[in-house]
Symmetry: C2
Subunit: 304 residues, 2 copies
């Protein structure tokens, strides 16, 4: 997964994405339907993954397990346990032991830090360390980044119709790193924050710049999603779901463009509206209908 | 919130529920819509709540903050930090300090336990302690508990149409404790597991029996939802959302009836189907339509 010149490359649509046909990621389960008739449904697989940073056990995560390397690095980055200038000397994954070890040139010790937990809102792994918030206030996001409404409408349709584990089995979250109207990196996982972390890991390991990107999530715009997006340096966050108060407050504090309830022709922006170019009237966008609505899509006022 | 004789009382519909008009629980936020016109939307409030068990700081949660007492007790119960036979000598909540302290007659020390974390899937606070799983295998759920399809269809409609923060502001999870066809206790919160914990706390503080109850959640049927429901002693778990593999596996292991994708006339049961009475044909149930569909409801194959 190395790109010729990631810093300047124009990434294609779905440069990286999950493989819905990967038998390891979902499995058929037998049951009964509403009439008592036998039915077989596909459900998303979950497996444990215990993350070590050098010699220290950090956390055990439940994940679909498609990219333990990206998940491990992204988690450490988003927990502020890896610094942007850290050198990773190795990532070892043992599928049988369900263990991934990230090794760094810098000696690390987060024993103290691990004691301080904050259980955040929506689908969170529930840990935000104090110094993450300290770093949050130092973040500056590209003021000249743009979100054209024509891109937004194109992205929403592409993402909703892209083959995915969501369409195959449901009950999974998706996050997409976008550049202009291209959905370049699509990650899914049982835990929404795993999907975010895998994208963060992929960006870091491939030197993908953040300032010209748009981050799309299927989940709510909670404080933790805003914090992670800003920490990743991405100036624009879009969701088809709704907002929470602290999410909006933090987005405004850091100058993040926050677009929610984005489906079909509609969306609401509650922070950073100055980055939006209304180049395509909503009336010219396609309504979200059964032909290309994300299966399982919620409507406005959605919790995810 | 004390009942005459909770052990035998027939609880009415929505005996306890959130107040959508409570100004503390949601707030208006100004933004722009898809045409660049000013719009005001209501968003759910979030506030920090730091939980102490006696002298020990346990966790800081983000919550809508409507019932810190129930959340605190339920969290401790579901984390196996409170035993069913524990005596609570006091619950003190300080709104300014955003702190709740639960005091017990028994001396408690979970310093060691707090070091062992598991980050679980969907909307989880991300901690399942080892001994929770040990206790899980000792759980026996009422084999004679029943779920009539007529109850299920009635409950789904009631819950979807009940005034709620979800309908008012969206981006929030709901859990409902049900008895036969009555939705007796409705809790909402920004974090799904907060809603579960508030119901657990309410049941424990009021001596509400679990073996004749049905638990309804708006979220996915993940491993953690199955564990919490079984730990609470509730034999039947229903969701309008989908399943994860480990959730199904654990439900079968503990003999929990697991009903998912329950909306309108449809549902799928993947565990404990022997508890279901097909007393009402699906064809006789109302289709879920705009008149009574839960606003923001997803369709089959949903992640929440």
């Amino acid at each position: 997964m190395t790109l010729p010149d990631p810093g300047t490359a124009t990434l294609p649509d779905f440069h990286i994405r999950p493989d819905p046909d990967d038998a390891r990621l979902s499995q058929p389960v037998s049951g009964l339907d509403q009439d008592g008739n036998p039915v077989e449904v596909r459900v998303v697989s979950e497996r444990a993954l215990t993350l070590f940073l050098n010699a220290q056990e950090i956390v055990t995560m439940m994940t679909i397990g498609d990219r333990p390397d990206l998940l491990a690095v992204g988690y450490l980055l988003n927990q502020n346990m890896l610094r942007p200038d850290d050198e990773i000397t190795g990532i070892d994954y043992d599928e049988d032991l369900e263990v991934v070890v990230v090794r760094t040139a810098r000696a690390t010790d987060y024993e103290e830090k691990m004691k301080k937990k904050v259980r955040t809102s929506g689908c969170a792994q529930g840990t935000v360390f104090g110094d993450v918030m300290e770093r949050f206030d130092d973040i500056s996001l590209a003021p000249d980044a743009r979100l054209r409404t024509s891109w937004l409408y194109a992205l929403t349709k592409k993402i909703n119709t892209q083959p995915s584990l969501y369409l195959a089995a449901g009950a999974i979250h998706g996050c997409v790193l976008c550049q202009e109207d291209r959905a370049v990196a699509y990650m899914e996982d049982v835990g929404r924050h795993n999907a975010v972390d895998k994208i963060a890991g992929w960006m870091w390991l491939n030197g993908i710049p953040a300032e010209d990107k748009i981050f799309y999530t299927t989940g709510r715009l909670t404080s933790e999603m805003v914090i992670k997006t800003a920490m990743m340096g991405i100036p624009i966050l879009v969701s088809r779901s709704g907002f929470t108060a602290w999410g909006v407050e933090l987005a405004r504090r850091v100058g993040l463009t926050l677009v929610g309830r984005a489906r079909g022709q509609r969306f609401v922006v509650l922070s950073g509206a100055e980055r939006i170019d209304y180049d395509m009237p909503a009336s010219a966008a396609e309504r979200e209908d059964a032909r290309h609505r994300r299966k399982g899509a919620r409507r406005e006022g959605d919790a995810a």
